[in-house]
Subunit: 80 residues, 2 copies
């Protein structure tokens, strides 16, 4: 099955990349008051059962995909 | 209103960052057969009407946020 992990900087955490995007969009004339940049990780998993698949993706987030101190994580499972 | 832009490498486009994540997850013992890495751009817009807001975000994607040759874009609007 497939999983999508959305990793975003937590509220209050400085996001210089997002600030640069906000400034650039405003310089281009767009009415943008804030921008924050995160990551998408699209995974194809060998697991076919959603319960252990979600547990595995949660462990992946802790061990590699995100920094829980400064990033929040949203996991979406897509069964095929 | 708020908008979220999901930017992903198109199918067939080489994604070395995703390949590195796949290899690292497998080295950690996870059953992952593929990984692809994209970006999330969360925007706060001055616009309050969804139709011009979406049109503006589409122009932002062309002018700054994505490379249409190698990336696909998904726009999600969230009214407040």
């Amino acid at each position: 099955m497939k999983a999508t992990v959305l990793v975003r900087p937590k509220a209050g955490i400085l996001d210089p990349q997002g600030e640069a995007v906000r400034a650039s969009l405003r310089a281009l004339g767009f009415g943008v008051t804030a921008a924050r940049i995160g990551r998408i990780v699209d995974l194809e998993l060998e697991a076919t059962d959603p319960v252990p698949a979600r547990a595995a993706v949660e462990r992946m987030c802790v061990e590699l995909l995100a920094n829980p101190l400064i990033e929040s994580v949203e996991i979406q499972l897509v069964s095929e």
